[in-house]
């Protein structure tokens, strides 16, 4: 285990050092990319000065809104859909092809329909996230042992009670995987839309800084988004592993 961590640390450190060396040696010129230590310094300065807090807050709020909506909608749909064989068979080809479709292509259309506000961005986030949640939930519900369902029936639980007390608790690891996917997709959807066209938000500020050759703003913001998404992903993965370990799987 520790050998593994050491290896990973070496890869990351090696990569950063390589970038640093290439920047300092002038192979990567200053206009393309400042050396990593300057980026980190700029990031600290940015946070200390409280710059872009409004944009960061707006982006994160939209990511959370998209995540929460897609998650609740997806888990509910997945749980209900499990009981309807035909509906599921009909939707199956949609699920199989869904992630091949460039959902971002719908963004201009949404802007035309809803106006250039938070709405289209959150909607893109939801659209990207919701199907992953539905599919993962279905996957989990499929694995509920029949004996548990029978027990619920014997005890006279209503469908809602069965879902809340039996099915969903059993599926907890799957629901966590779904949360991980949904959060990643919500991030990609919201930040990506801000990037393409928006009036505020982290993605917007990065593209604005890019247009103005403002590397001192662009690189720290990019670094911050990468760190935020990796941290969120790492946290949920850790939780997922501990849950699986407690259940004695793996």
């Amino acid at each position: 285990m520790s050998r593994l961590r050491l290896y990973q640390l070496a890869v990351v450190a090696g990569f950063i050092l390589l970038l640093e060396a290439l920047c300092l040696a002038g192979v990567i010129d200053k206009i393309t990319m400042p050396p990593p230590h300057i980026i980190v310094r700029d990031l600290f300065r940015m946070i200390a000065a409280g710059r872009y807090f409004g944009d960061i807050g707006k982006s994160l709020a939209n990511v959370l809104l998209a995540f929460a909506t897609a998650y609740v909608l997806g888990v509910a749909t997945g749980t209900i859909l499990h009981g309807y064989r035909t509906a599921r068979d009909i939707l199956d080809p949609l699920f199989a092809t869904y992630y091949a479709i460039p959902v971002f292509a719908f963004y201009p259309l949404f802007i035309v329909i809803f106006g250039l506000g938070d709405g289209p961005q959150v909607l893109i986030g939801i659209l990207l996230a919701v199907v992953a949640v539905i599919v993962t939930t279905l996957n989990g519900v499929d694995r509920v042992p029949p004996v548990l369902k029978k027990t619920a029936r014997v005890n006279g639980l209503s469908p809602l009670q069965t879902a809340l007390r039996v099915t969903l608790p059993f599926c907890a690891p799957y629901l966590l995987t779904a949360a991980k996917l949904a959060l990643a997709y919500a991030f990609i959807g919201v930040i990506g839309s801000e990037f393409i066209m928006a009036r505020a938000g982290m993605g917007y500020e990065i593209s604005y800084a890019y247009t103005n050759f403002d590397n001192a703003t662009m690189y720290p913001l990019i670094l911050m988004i990468l760190l935020l998404s990796i941290a969120a992903n790492g946290l949920l993965s850790y939780w997922e592993r501990t849950l699986l370990a407690r259940r004695g799987q793996k």
Binding site: L91, A105, G192, I196, S229
Partner: protein, 248 residues
């Protein structure tokens, strides 16, 4: 047996009809201000296809996409094989690749633009970035799950590494690798179009963003429709091959 084989086709047809119905209803609800009906969209797409400009944009997108896909598959296979054959490297790099997979890669696009300049090479690089990781991850897991007896047989026969890869590892891993290429195909296309939407002077993504600044709803709907149909039908085809490889 024959009946069972026809069932998925029937479901797909019901699904497509349902989606068109939904589209028509949405059009009736929203109206001409922001939407076009399926029929209007397809008619506009028909006239669009008679213009030279459209084919220029399409050709540019497809060219960038084809090169990006070739790079993604080549590099993805290379990384996947290298990591799959070395236990420690594979164990260490797999979670890192998964983490990279889940970051919003669009944030890296300005860096690529600064490095390559606005043009086809930036699009290619951005598309390739999207495709490399899935191809690498699926190849890695394909190599890992090869039955040990096959590899042992190769060792007993004293095959050299090249023959080992060509005669044993690759054929045994093909179904999984194909799944990776299928996913990589979709993501590379998404990446290429996304790159064009952010900064480009040509391509379908550019056409889409240009249409929005002109408030040309016909054009937006036609291009979006074309992209969706293109992506969905190729994916359906690849999915069919994929399933045959896994069960055949």
């Amino acid at each position: 047996m024959a009946k069972e084989e026809r069932a998925p086709l029937r479901h797909t047809i019901i699904l497509i009809v349902g989606l068109f119905l939904f589209w028509q209803l949405a059009y009736l609800a929203v109206g001409d201000v922001a939407l076009r009906s399926p029929w209007q969209t397809m008619r506009f797409l028909g006239t669009l296809m008679q213009t030279d400009v459209f084919w220029l944009h399409l050709a540019d997108t497809l060219k960038a996409f084809a090169v990006a896909l070739a790079i993604a598959i080549a590099l993805g296979l290379l990384i996947g094989f290298a990591l799959g054959l070395h236990r420690l490297s594979g164990d260490a790099m797999e979670p890192m690749l998964v983490a990279l997979y889940s970051i919003p890669k669009i944030t890296l696009y300005p860096i690529i633009l600064l490095a390559f300049g606005v043009g086809i090479s930036a699009k290619i690089a951005f598309g390739a970035i999207h495709g490399i990781i899935p191809v690498a991850l699926f190849t890695l897991s394909a190599i890992r799950t090869i039955k040990p007896i096959l590899i042992k047989t190769g060792r007993v026969l004293k095959l050299n590494p090249t023959v080992m890869v060509r005669a044993i590892l690759f054929p045994a891993a093909v179904p999984e690798i194909f799944t990776g290429i299928r996913v990589g195909f979709s993501l590379t296309l998404i990446g290429t179009v996304l790159g064009e939407m952010f900064a480009a002077q040509r391509g379908l993504g550019y056409l889409l963003m240009n249409a929005i600044s002109l408030y040309n709803i016909d054009l937006i709907m036609a291009v979006t429709f074309l992209l969706v149909v293109l992506a969905a039908s190729v994916n359906a085809l690849l999915l069919a091959v994929d399933r045959r490889l896994h069960h055949g």
